[in-house]
């Protein structure tokens, strides 16, 4: 039972953190203002900073939309210079590439999310994600960088959205940055290709 109490204590601590007033008020203004606000928040005295209040995310662009994934599960990011399309694989598998002697599979999230219209874009970066069991390269147009995201800034995705993508959406920020749940994507059975010849 003492372990139980310990957990409660931890939970209480976390709860306190989560309920702390947002460092940055949700702001529908342009990205510049938000960045400036973020910069101010970052520059502010760190005494209010506690683990859990901010999360490190990698922000990237995909067909003009802004996404982010938590940095914890990202092993590395590399430019896609060459790849080989793979026969008999589902459309969301772009192909395979050679990363320092290891074959890495590359997934086009837009197709995995079954987005209705997938136009062309400059998918030139690969975010290599791994949870120790699953490892997959995720295509991105461009990487904006590592952002420290205040948890309080995240809002629930609009309830009206019910696509595959929304299943993996953790939340969106006021400036329309969509945070994807990378752990869930990696653990999802649908991302695994396991097909036999009928």
């Amino acid at each position: 039972m003492s372990a139980q109490q310990d957990r409660n204590t931890i939970a209480d601590g976390t709860a306190g953190v989560i309920h702390a007033p947002p460092a940055v008020a949700p702001n529908p203004a342009g990205p510049k203002e938000i960045l400036a606000a973020r910069a101010r928040a970052l520059a502010a005295a760190p005494e209010a900073e506690t683990a859990g209040e901010r999360i490190e995310v990698i922000e990237f662009e995909l067909s003009g939309e802004r996404y982010a994934v938590r940095a914890a599960l990202v092993t590395e990011i590399f430019p896609l210079t060459d790849f080989t399309p793979l026969f008999c694989a589902p459309a969301f598998v772009l192909g395979i590439t050679n990363l320092r002697g290891k074959i890495v599979s590359i997934v086009d999230l837009r197709r995995f999310f079954e987005l209705p219209s997938v136009g062309l874009s400059n998918l030139n970066r690969v975010i290599l994600a791994s949870d120790g069991v699953m490892e997959v390269g995720i295509l991105a147009d461009a990487i904006a960088g590592i952002v420290s995201l205040p948890v309080a800034e995240l809002q629930a995705p609009p309830a009206a959205l019910t696509g595959v993508r929304e299943e993996f959406l953790t939340g969106v920020t006021g400036d329309r940055l969509a945070l994807l749940d990378l752990g869930r994507i990696l653990a999802d059975r649908r991302i695994v290709v396991h097909e036999e010849v009928e």
Binding site: Q4, R7, N8, I10, A11, T14, A15, I18, P22, I55, L80, T81, D82, F83, T84, P85, L86, F87, C88, V93, L94, G95, I96, T97, N98, G101, K102, I103, V104, S105, S117, V118, G119, L120, N122, L123, N124, G132, V133, M134, E135, V136, L139, L154, Q155, A156, T170, G171, L179, D181, G183, R184, A187, R189, I191, V192, V193, E195, V197, E198
Partner: protein, 768 residues
């Protein structure tokens, strides 16, 4: 058994836990998938996978004496079989029960504090991940972003013990279980168990020395780079002299010009000869470096591979014990003999072999070996004899023979069972030879045993054997004599690493076929292809073989017209032959086979991939799959080959700097029947349109060196090309750009984000 036995059991238990974790993980995710699946037909394959996993887990639990776990597995397997057959209805409470039983198994296998099972997040509050707020959080928490995942405030935290739901646990062992995780809760990060290998210190030291040697290789390369740099500076100087000479020559005949020219030319000649010498010495140096580096890499690779080798005994050391225990359970008597245990095999291959061997031995003891009384009646010794023998076949291949002196397998019963289970039709059954019929036991779900016991009988064991062997690039076969016994032959590679493979091209893509399965390659003229019952056949070496087109098997676009000569690869595996038509055959290469990674767990027709000398990644084909696909493709073939449209193939040039967009465009357009060439930027494209004939150009706007606007302007500026249609494809969606595109003479301007594949194809057809 004494201390050694206990020690062995302890070791086995650790190995088992590693394996079980895998199975439990798979079981959990399969159950979850099953819950999400609404279509009963689509549940079938999931149930099938669940049964297999359960079956394997049961066998493994047996081997380490976790009889309670095995018992629960057995019950669960029966339930799954009932559901699969439709004897039991699938329902939410049933799923719930299955899920809880699997968690019960987890606890049976991993005793100790909750969360000991490799997943610290399972029982503890998810502190690491603040996505789900703790249950105490008031409803009005200002910053929750996944409300669905949040348990209602009234619900106790997931980790608190709850009163067991009113469903009875299946077996005594399935004691208090953790309530299932609330849906939507993020899955904890679970890391795979880390395997360890013992390495003799001398080998380790040797490896370190070799790694240090590589430093000298680095120095050699850096000196080469230096030499090359000097060379290119020299060439720049030479260009300088040339320019001066040209200016001098243009300045016309004047006093002293010829002499000055001669002087310049002489200087150039001298420089050239120095350059030549320098180049020669660099080439020699390069060759020496290659030689030295080659030696280092080969030795290092050989030694590192040796790290992966383990004696065959290591995988079968637990088997005699298993046989004793099973015999006791079944009331039979048998001895297990091991041969070839000292042969060393790649660790990864051994890991794959354990499961199939386990299944075979269980099957043999349960069905093959007769009870002692029956054996005596037949004039055999009361103790049965089971032999597992590993022997080296050739080069990189070995064979495991699992032999028993039991009852043998009756081909008629196998046929009967296959018929009952509708695996084959009456006509097919009649056409099958006895030897072919026997090999049906490798089909999933086929069991000749009328009695399902805890040891075997569900017909999964042999299917698992075949699957594992094929995954390794080998195959399994069986011969049997009723009354005298059965021999299972498993052919497998000794190590994964190097193998010979035939490089072929099909529809513009390259692929490798393992040489061990290639009988020969030849050319067959189109006239020699005969249609027999809607199937194409060719005669090679006097044998009529069915002709399969690799492009069709791999779902690639096929050429409009048949070439006058087919390039044919004759495949030979497990006593079957087939002729495979490809576009080009390049020859045999020594390759290093690599797995495709965890995400591509199994891709149809593809066994793995390799990196060629030029850095290109090329898939390695799965020969066993090719045989199966060839059958399906032949059946699916609807239209005769000659009856297709004979319209001239349009040739398209795609200029695009992004590798992904370029490849996607190429695939889309080739899929639509165009011949496609690609260029990496505007100037590359311009060089191509000047030297080759194209019907249309599709170009990106933003490209290095020469952008799409400049390319279009250059094409319009060339008299010969002025009429060539140009489609600009762009991410820029501005009016000015669109106008600029029209100004420079583009015929169409498509915005990337708004066009779909069909749209582009339509525009191309319209314009060309």
């Amino acid at each position: 058994m004494g201390v050694d036995g206990a020690d062995l059991l302890q070791r086995l238990l650790v190995i088992f836990q590693g394996e079980a974790e895998d199975h439990l993980r798979a079981l959990n995710s399969l159950l979850e998938a099953l819950g999400q699946e609404e279509d009963p037909a689509a549940r079938k394959p999931l149930l099938e996978s669940l049964s297999r996993r359960m079956h394997t887990l049961k066998g493994a639990a047996h081997a380490v004496n976790l009889l309670d776990v095995a018992e629960v597995c057995q019950v669960l397997e029966s339930i799954l079989a009932d559901v699969k057959r439709g004897d039991m209805e699938f329902s939410a409470p049933l799923l719930d029960r299955l899920q809880r039983e699997v968690q019960g198994l987890e606890q049976g296998i991993f005793p100790g504090p909750p969360g000991a099972f490799g997943a610290p997040g399972m029982a503890a509050a998810p502190v690491e991940d603040p996505i789900v707020p703790p249950a105490e959080a008031p409803e009005a928490a200002p910053s929750t972003f996944l409300p669905a995942a949040k348990p209602p405030a009234s619900e106790p935290p997931a980790s608190e013990p709850v009163s067991p739901p009113p469903v009875e646990p299946i077996a005594s062992r399935a004691t208090p279980v953790e309530p299932p995780l609330p849906a939507g809760q993020p899955q904890p990060v679970r890391s795979a168990p880390v395997e360890t290998v013992r390495v003799p210190v001398p080998l380790l030291e040797q490896l370190l020395l070799q790694a240090e040697e590589l430093v000298s290789a680095k120095l050699m390369v850096s000196s080469l780079v230096e030499g090359l740099g000097e060379l290119s500076r020299n060439i720049a100087l030479r260009a300088d002299q040339r320019a001066r000479a040209e200016a001098l020559a243009r300045s016309g005949p004047a006093e002293g010009t010829p002499a000055a020219l001669a002087q310049l030319i002489r200087e150039q000649l001298e420089r050239e000869s120095r350059l030549g010498q320098r180049l020669q010495s660099l080439t020699q140096k390069g060759q020496a470096s290659l030689w030295a580096l080659g030696g280092m890499v080969d030795t290092l690779l050989g030694d590192v591979k040796e790290l992966q080798l383990l004696p065959f005994t290591s995988v079968v050391e637990s088997f005699p014990r298993l046989v004793r225990e099973l015999c006791a359970e079944l009331g039979k008597e048998a001895d297990l003999h091991l041969r070839g245990g000292e042969l060393e095999v790649d660790r990864r291959i051994l890991a794959e072999l354990k499961e199939p061997l386990l299944h075979l031995v269980r099957n043999i003891l349960d069905h093959g070996i007769e009870p002692p009384a029956e054996r005596r009646e037949r004039g055999k010794p009361a103790r049965g004899r089971v032999t597992i023998a590993l022997r080296h076949l050739d080069g990189n291949r070995a064979e495991i023979e699992v032999t028993d002196d039991g009852a043998g397998i009756d081909p008629a019963r196998v046929k009967g069972a296959a018929l009952r289970q509708e695996l084959i039709t009456e006509a097919e059954a009649a056409a099958l030879s006895d030897a072919e019929a026997l090999n049906l036991i490798f089909e999933s779900g086929l069991s000749t045993s009328s009695m399902i016991t805890s040891i075997s009988g569900r017909g999964l064991g042999c299917a698992i054997v075949r699957e594992s062997l094929e995954k390794l690039g080998g195959h399994a076969a069986v011969v049997s004599q009723i009354g005298t016994g059965t021999v299972f032959r498993l052919v497998l590679p000794l190590n994964f690493a190097m193998m010979d493979a035939l490089l072929v091209e099909v529809s513009g893509r390259q692929a490798l076929i393992p040489s061990s399965s290639v009988r020969l390659t030849c050319r067959v003229s189109a006239a020699e292809v005969k249609g027999v019952e809607n199937r194409e056949t060719v005669t090679v070496e006097g044998e009529v073989l069915s002709l399969a087109r690799l492009a069709r098997i791999l779902e690639l676009p096929e050429p409009e017209d048949d070439p006058p000569l087919h390039q044919v690869v004759v495949l030979d595996a497990a006593e079957r032959r087939i002729a495979l038509a490809v576009d080009a055959i390049f020859g045999v290469q020594e390759i290093l086979a690599k797995p495709l990674g965890p995400q591509l767990s199994r891709v149809r027709n593809v066994a793995g991939a390799t990196v060629l000398g030029n850095g290109q990644v090329v898939p390695i084909l799965n020969v066993n799959d090719l045989f199966r696909s060839a059958l399906t493709a032949a059946q699916a073939k609807a239209q005769p080959l000659s009856g297709r449209g004979k319209a001239r193939q349009l040739s398209v040039l795609v200029a695009e700097d992004s590798i992904t967009s370029r490849t996607l465009l190429k695939n889309i357009l080739e899929g639509a029947g165009f011949a496609v060439r690609t260029a990496v930027d505007g100037s590359d494209a311009l060089a191509l349109v000047k030297s080759e004939e194209f019907d249309i150009v599709v170009s990106d706007v933003e490209m290095p060196r020469m952008d799409g606007f400049q390319l279009t302007a250059a094409i319009r500026g060339d008299q010969r090309l002025a009429e060539l249609p140009v489609i600009l494809v762009t991410g820029l969606e501005s009016r000015e750009d669109r106008e600029r595109g029209i100004d420079v003479g583009a015929n169409a301007y498509l915005v990337k984000s708004s066009f779909d594949q069909g749209g582009l194809v339509e525009v191309i057809r319209k314009l060309s």
